[in-house]
Subunit: 342 residues, 2 copies
DNA sequence: CACTGTGTTGCAAGGTTTTGCAAATCAGTT
DNA sequence: AACTGATTTGCAAAACCTTGCAACACAGTG
């Protein structure tokens, strides 16, 4: 890893200046400081004394947010497993912060974090930016990482994921078996890969049952209960052929659907069946209790951490190369929010 | 802060040996290594190069767990506020880890965290151990910190808290006004200070109404939905004079009460009124929607971070000395889980 | 145009940490 | 008891980072 001198050379300044920037001393021109910081971001600098922080068994857990209860659930499961393996975890909420995920990761690395688990990382959004290249760069910098529900088959990173397409399929199947044919999809944003996969499963199940899929049955909205309510409102307002059932991208969105249905006097499950996804703890407490597809959170957490610790262990350097990914089957949990159409 | 030389002197070895221990080099006797590590734990060492990590605007947020949704809610509110003030946050779950809170704090400090917010810290448990002394030591080491619902009036640390006693009082009052007289208390562990304060408010409200308080009306159980169910079971099994209403230490426990009531066919609110505490997001989704006392989470987060940033800001060193604490009033939110006794 | 003050930078001295090396220690063997 | 080899430790030199200081640049002012 680079020393002060190298950084200085790359930035075209003396080591003293670099030192001053690092220590936030006054007396450095803003422009110069910026130049040094840029170089610093590219060839990350680890102070000598940081040897003291290396290999202390600290890992980073990155989740996009905490308001959807799946993420605290994942975080807790991952932490429990991590601590059993002797690692302490630092949890980072990448969306609430002013920093983007990338900066957060740099910050963690500068703090001597040995490896990281990305839960639903940005790469799962098939947006325009080159997040792919960013993860590839981290990887080539030797950062040890694991994805959970990452959806990045092209990267040489293990991905521990539920089969989202199967989830969409099973949810829709369940509704079809109950007798529904007009099944709506309360979906997250269009660029979210998990939502697209669920949609594929949903469409496959409907077509298999001989139902012509109507694109108007898909309502995109931001993740979260608010988004769910908003999407539900749009679907329930559909002039002709309004759905008798909906599947949702997440339980969290499903809660919003329940609320909106309640607000409009649409009775669940009599007038509308609802299937969630995740099986968050709340799902069994809400009214009506939510039929949902459970992610095997504990098993996934276990797999993710085993995978990571293999990569951290200096011995096991040989074993895991290649895109070793595990796909878990979601499990249908039938509760009270689904019933035959009236 | 101590340098290598001082550590070496204290451990009775040469600086080289300390250096070797810190960098995990081979060639140090296990016994010697242990001695050095012990000294290191007592006079924490910050590498020089860590200047690079100092004042990077990273703060630590310590919460006891994540399964009770108040804690993710607090975490998110704190993070949002922190990022607005230019700080990045590291979230730590102190209970799920193998480390105790103390070790976690040391770990964070070694990572150049500037300050920390303790949410419901261990000091709020009036257990036997000398946690008090531990926080005092952190304080005298110059660690900047703030408590949220800390309950440690003797320490020179700002404490941003809800008035727990008032919460217990208002909850009980509400039930008394509805006509209840036999009001149970589903309480967290006896050593939890917040639970004791709520109990005091509960007792005060009952006595004020001329009701003789029966100690059998208090059921202690571990925090969480399981604990709530367990405590509810005990109260509902009470042979004579079983309560017509209960207040709970948290919404999370209240969810357990709802579940247990449902399991036994006890209808809420017809046969049993339930008041929670916290107003977690789920409270409005569960069945029946929970009457509860809301903590003003956003305002508290704001206050906690303003308080902390005052202490971090090198300028404002003058202003905040003394045990500056803010007590927030909980707000009664009436939903569907309370009604007059039948 | 010179003078002054302010701000920025590199040099070199000084302090701290790392590491090569040799001395010391210890257990097992002859 | 002496020898051997492995391990551990401190010394001192080397590498590295920090900081005081002087040099330089630049703008404003008399």
């Amino acid at each position: 890893m680079a020393g002060l001198a190298e950084i200085a050379r790359a930035a075209g300044v003396s080591v003293s200046t670099v030192s001053r920037v690092l220590n936030r001393r006054a007396g450095v021109n803003d422009e110069t400081r910026q130049r040094v910081l840029t170089v610093l971001a590219e060839m990350p600098y680890t102070p000598r004394g940081l040897g003291a922080l290396q290999r202390t068994g600290v890992i980073g857990l990155l989740v996009p947010e905490l308001s959807n209860p799946v993420f605290p659930a994942f975080a807790e499961a991952l932490e429990t497993r991590a601590s059993r393996l002797g690692y302490a975890s630092l949890l980072c909420n990448t969306r609430s912060a002013s920093m983007r995920e990338e900066e957060y990761v740099r910050m963690l690395l500068a703090r001597g974090v040995e490896g990281m688990v990305f839960v639903s990382p940005e790469i799962a959004n098939t947006g325009g930016e080159d997040v792919h290249g960013y993860y590839a760069k981290l990887l080539s910098d030797g950062v040890r990482m694991v994805f959970v529900n990452g959806g990045a088959p092209a990267l040489d990173v293990p991905d521990i994921a539920v089969d989202e397409q199967l989830a969409g399929y099973l949810a829709t199947r369940h509704l079809i078996e109950l007798g529904h044919t007009r099944v709506g999809f309360v979906s997250g944003p269009a660029r979210s890969l998990p939502s697209r996969l669920k949609r594929a499963g949903w469409a496959a199940a409907l077509e298999e049952a001989g139902v012509r899929v109507d694109p108007a049955w898909v309502a995109h909205a931001p993740f979260g209960a608010e988004g769910g309510a908003e999407a539900a409102a749009r679907l329930l307002d559909a002039p002709r052929a309004r759905p008798t059932a909906v599947i949702c991208s997440s339980d969290h969105m499903a809660l919003g659907v329940l609320r909106e249905a309640h607000r409009r006097g649409v009775s669940v499950p009599r007038d509308l069946s609802v299937v969630g996804f995740d099986d968050i703890p709340v799902a069994s407490y809400c009214a009506p209790a939510l039929t949902t597809l459970a992610q095997p959170i504990d098993e996934m957490a276990r797999a993710a951490l085993d995978e990571l610790s293999l990569r951290l262990d200096p011995d096991g350097r040989d074993a895991p190369t290649g895109n070793y990914s595990r796909v878990f089957r979601p499990r249908l949990v039938v509760r009270e929010s689904t019933a035959p159409p009236s």
